[in-house]
């Protein structure tokens, strides 16, 4: 790659919005974001959105989106703007670097969603004081699986 790339969208920020909800799809939150988009640039993706613009504008749009399903919409900063040829898979082929980290965390983010939904409950969690169970398949569970298959 011998291109010279001038600074893109200087003075702006880009944020990822991830949605992992049974009530909302990326399409739904994109429609909601466009309602108040103002001067921001919005890109819809398979997992949610990328929003680029001045910080206060981006935060305003994100606050509006979050109201839809607060415990199932997640936001993080992104260094590159959308479509940057150094990162966009249209130029590189294959998954974008960084995708695997998102894939890993999205695999168990529903546990975080449960934590957020039950944040205000004063009842202690059963697991608060529980002993750490050693990793591996317990014999009892193995027997159950064998019986299921038989």
């Amino acid at each position: 790659m011998n291109w010279v790339i001038p600074p893109l969208y200087a003075g702006t920020i880009t944020k990822y919005v991830f949605v992992e909800s049974y009530k909302a799809t990326p399409d739904d939150i994109a429609a909601r974001a466009y309602e108040v988009s103002g001067e921001v640039m919005i890109k819809e993706t398979c997992f949610g959105l990328q929003i680029t613009g001045k910080e206060e504008e981006v935060e305003r749009v994100i606050a509006h989106i979050r109201e839809f399903d607060p415990a199932h919409i997640y936001v993080k900063d992104r260094g590159f703007p959308p479509g940057d040829p150094r990162r966009c898979r249209a130029n590189l082929g294959g998954a974008r670097p960084g995708y695997f980290g998102h894939e890993y965390e999205m695999g168990f983010i529903r546990r975080i969603a449960v934590g957020l939904e039950r944040l205000e409950e004063s009842v202690p969690v059963a697991g608060d004081e529980r002993k750490k169970v050693p990793e591996g398949l317990p014999v009892k569970r193995l027997m159950e699986l064998i019986e299921q298959e038989a």
Binding site: M1, N2, W3, V4, I5, P6, P7, L8, Y9, A10, G11, I13, T14, Y16, F18, Y74, V75, K76, D77, R78, G79, F80, D84, R86, P97, G98, F100, G101, H102, Y104, E105, M106, F108, I109, R110, R111, I112, A113, V114, G115, L116, R118, L119, V125, A126, G127, D128, R130
Partner: protein, 148 residues
């Protein structure tokens, strides 16, 4: 609002929770953004340049592999300005592009040297642990003050 260093520095979960509870997450994206929005002779075809491995010498010795020094040029300035830190221990995805065993150790060492409030966690393995995870993060961030 406190500046909270997060590690893994690309973590969606930590970045979201820190911002959600009213503080500023310090993750790699901020360092990368600064690089790609700054004009320079390199106007880089890559976001990392050979100079980054030299900048990393501030945090890692010269015999340390250049990959670690390059990563430290991203993480080091964030650690320097951090007022608190949340670290997830041994996350699988901190081994690869984002980090390596030596970088993880060095980051943890530098954060602990700073004498700032630190929360160390593991990723939740089930829903109960998820509740505990979020509560611990919330309690930690609340203890930092500000508008969380």
């Amino acid at each position: 609002m406190a500046k909270v260093f997060i590690y893994p520095a690309t973590s969606l979960i930590l970045s979201d929770l820190v911002a959600r509870f009213g503080h500023k997450p310090l993750g790699t994206a901020l360092s990368i953004r600064e690089r790609i929005q700054t004009a320079g002779l390199d106007s880089p075809p890559l976001q990392m340049t050979p100079d980054d491995a030299k900048k990393g010498l501030k945090w890692a010795a010269v015999e340390v592999p250049s990959g670690v020094r390059g990563r430290m040029s991203l993480f080091g300035p964030l650690i320097d300005q951090a007022e608190a830190a949340i670290i997830v221990n041994n996350p699988d995805f901190a081994f690869g592009c984002m980090g390596c065993a030596r970088t993880d150790e060095l980051v943890e060492f530098l954060v602990k040297q700073k004498n700032i409030p630190i929360l160390e966690l593991s990723y939740p393995a089930d829903e109960d642990e998820g509740i505990i995870f979020v509560r611990k993060v919330r309690d930690f961030l609340t203890s930092l003050g500000g508008n969380s």
